[in-house]
């Protein structure tokens, strides 16, 4: 653990990513208790104002405070990201682990299923879900979560199959442990590094996808503030009030950048072999 920390401290992208992500999390937590203004308070008299001492990042077409909306909007991004990755992680790892534990037709079936899912990109799944359920945050979580399942399944199976060929697994087998028990006790803990890296990167993908879905009107609905929705509104007024388009986009880009940097950094730190090769 101490070498992990030492490596982590020396790793530049991990540091930058960590700072950005910590900032995102703190803003989200802070917005639960405090925002400069109410993110939903409408003040038409002060609409489309640029940044000022009163409204640091300006106001939107309804006179709402952009900074407050951005702060509250981070909550939706994090919630959707967390739940979508959790859905993918729980179901995907279970399927991947089953495939690698029992091999044979179980593996064949699970892997063909995951091949099939290529046919359904996030937006198409979201469109289908919207036709059935109507638009909403749940759509985003489901569409992104479903998309994540085969990715986790494939990574888990690949890493687990490699782990099954290792000596410590053979040792466990000679002790007479069952296959499922070996997977849970030995294989999964040993591939957790690869899974953490993947989860971080998919968290970033989820934030991007959530923003795209709310932008398109398939995801989070007003008055709940979300970054994608803010950009959608900003589009109409981009000539009059460019600040409306600039800040939410920056918030998305910096959050995604932070998580991606952490993912890349963790891969280097958790898997030194790969790090040296890069």
């Amino acid at each position: 653990m101490s070498t992990f920390l030492k490596n982590a401290r020396m790793h530049r992208s991990l540091m930058i990513g960590g700072v950005l992500t910590l900032l995102l999390l703190s803003v989200a937590v802070l917005s639960l208790f405090w925002t400069p203004w109410s993110p939903t308070a409408i003040d038409i008299a002060n609409k489309l104002k640029g940044p000022s001492a009163k409204h640091w990042l300006g106001t939107d077409h309804l006179g709402r405070d952009v900074l407050s909306m951005l702060m509250s909007g981070s909550q939706i991004s994090i919630i959707v990201g967390f739940l979508a990755v959790s859905v993918g992680l729980l179901v995907g790892v279970a399927l991947g682990a089953l495939a690698s534990t029992y091999r044979g037709w179980v593996e064949e079936l699970i892997m063909r299923m995951s091949d099939f899912s290529i046919a359904f990109p996030i937006i198409i799944t979201a469109v289908l879900l919207t036709a059935i359920l109507g638009p909403g945050t749940v759509n985003s979580i489901l569409a992104i979560g479903i998309f994540n399942i085969p990715i986790f399944a494939r990574i888990t199976r690949g890493a687990a199959n490699a782990a099954w060929a290792r000596e410590y697994v053979m040792a466990a087998q000679t002790c007479g442990k069952g296959r499922l028990r070996i997977t849970i006790e030995h294989v999964l803990p040993n591939i957790s590094g690869a899974l953490i890296v993947q989860a971080t990167i998919l968290f970033a993908v989820a934030i991007l996808a959530e923003a795209a879905l709310s932008f398109l009107g398939l995801g989070t609905q007003p008055p709940e503030p979300s970054w994608g929705k803010m950009l959608n509104n900003a589009q109409t007024f981009v000539g009059l009030a460019p600040h409306l388009a600039i800040f939410p986009g920056l918030a998305i880009a910096l959050s995604v950048l932070g998580l991606n940097l952490i993912g890349d950094g963790l891969r280097d730190v958790l898997d030194p072999k790969l790090a040296r090769a890069r």
């Binding site: 198409i124 986009g249 995604v256």
Partner: protein
């Protein structure tokens, strides 16, 4: 090779078959009478009855599924009730905008991404390489629809070089049509270019570590000709694979970008039919998009087999 080809095509057909069942079943889950949903609550009874008959809601589900599939095979996708024209005709017109847009974006992203990646690899671990890596990180973190809005802000509103949105149609002439597609294509392309740059860079670096590169250098070949003759050829395999796969994400990306630029392609059709609950269009459009994505994957796999001779003999 033939066994591989046959198996791959069988998978393609099976995937499409399962996808069609999923799409059909998902839309069947809609509670209530589809004709009622499409026309609204206060629809006149005779119109309702006519649509019910057209949709065949009175017939069993399995029969309706096979009628749909049978129609798809011969290119009959039913009729859109909001546009009052055959869905296939509607989709073909829109495809004439979306496909050129996706291809233009693919072209731009390859033209930028691959050379930039090769340049970074050739200058591995120098400031130039790090510069490219930063571009790569930023490129994949920026949402394409945000980039699109920024492009409109700079190139349409401030500079006035390109239209901020809309599409004059191909009948307006080649140049005006292309001009309307340039900003959308660039907003799609920049993210993909970042991905291509990263992939090309690491593909070249992987090949550089191979033994045959050391051999080529040892027998006296210059750095440059080793790079061109041996490294590039081998690095092309992963690069082409990713390019192909990214083509399907470009296609899906057009759904978002068409919304930003108000371009009457498949993406806009998706949302128009979704808000108008024109289910006949939604169903066939999703099926078409899925089929295109799966088809692109098939082509990439086959191409891969042609390029990489090792695959020919393994079969899988």
């Amino acid at each position: 090779m033939i066994a591989f080809l046959l198996r791959r095509i069988a998978t393609f057909v099976a995937t499409l078959a399962i996808a069609s069942v999923v799409i059909f079943a998902a839309l069947e889950l809609l509670p209530g009478d589809p004709a009622q949903i499409m026309l609204g609550i206060d629809a006149p009874p005779d119109a309702l009855e006519a649509l019910q008959k057209k949709l065949g809601v009175d017939r069993p589900m399995v029969e309706r599924y096979f009628t749909w599939i049978g129609g798809l095979v011969v290119g009959d996708m039913g009729e859109s009730f909001t546009y009052v024209m055959p869905v296939s005709e509607l989709i073909m017109t829109r495809l004439g905008v979306t496909l050129p847009l996706a291809l233009l974006a693919a072209l731009i992203s390859v033209a930028i991404g691959v050379p930039v990646g090769l340049y970074a690899a050739a200058n591995h671990k120098t400031p130039r390489d790090y510069g490219v890596m930063i571009f790569g990180q930023l490129g994949i973190a920026i949402p394409n629809f945000w980039f699109a809005i920024l492009l409109v802000l700079v190139f349409s509103i401030y500079l006035g070089w390109f239209p901020a949105g809309g599409f004059p149609g191909w009948s307006a002439g080649f140049w005006p049509a292309i001009k309307a597609l340039i900003l959308p294509a660039f907003s799609l392309a920049i993210v993909e270019a970042a991905i291509f740059a990263r992939i090309s860079r690491s593909a070249v670096l992987d090949v550089l570590r191979e033994d045959f590169v050391r051999t080529a250098r040892a027998k006296g070949l210059s750095r440059k000709s080793t790079l061109v003759k041996h490294v590039l050829r081998n690095a092309m395999i992963p690069i082409i694979t990713i390019c192909g796969l990214e083509l399907s994400s470009l296609l899906v990306g057009t759904i978002v970008i068409e919304q930003v630029f108000n371009i009457p392609g498949l993406g806009r059709l998706v949302f128009q039919s979704l808000t108008q609950l024109d289910l006949m269009v939604v169903k066939n459009l999703i099926m078409l998009l899925v089929a295109l994505v799966v088809f692109i994957n098939l082509v990439v796999d086959l191409l891969y087999a042609v390029i990489d001779p090792r695959l020919k003999h393994q079969g899988h």
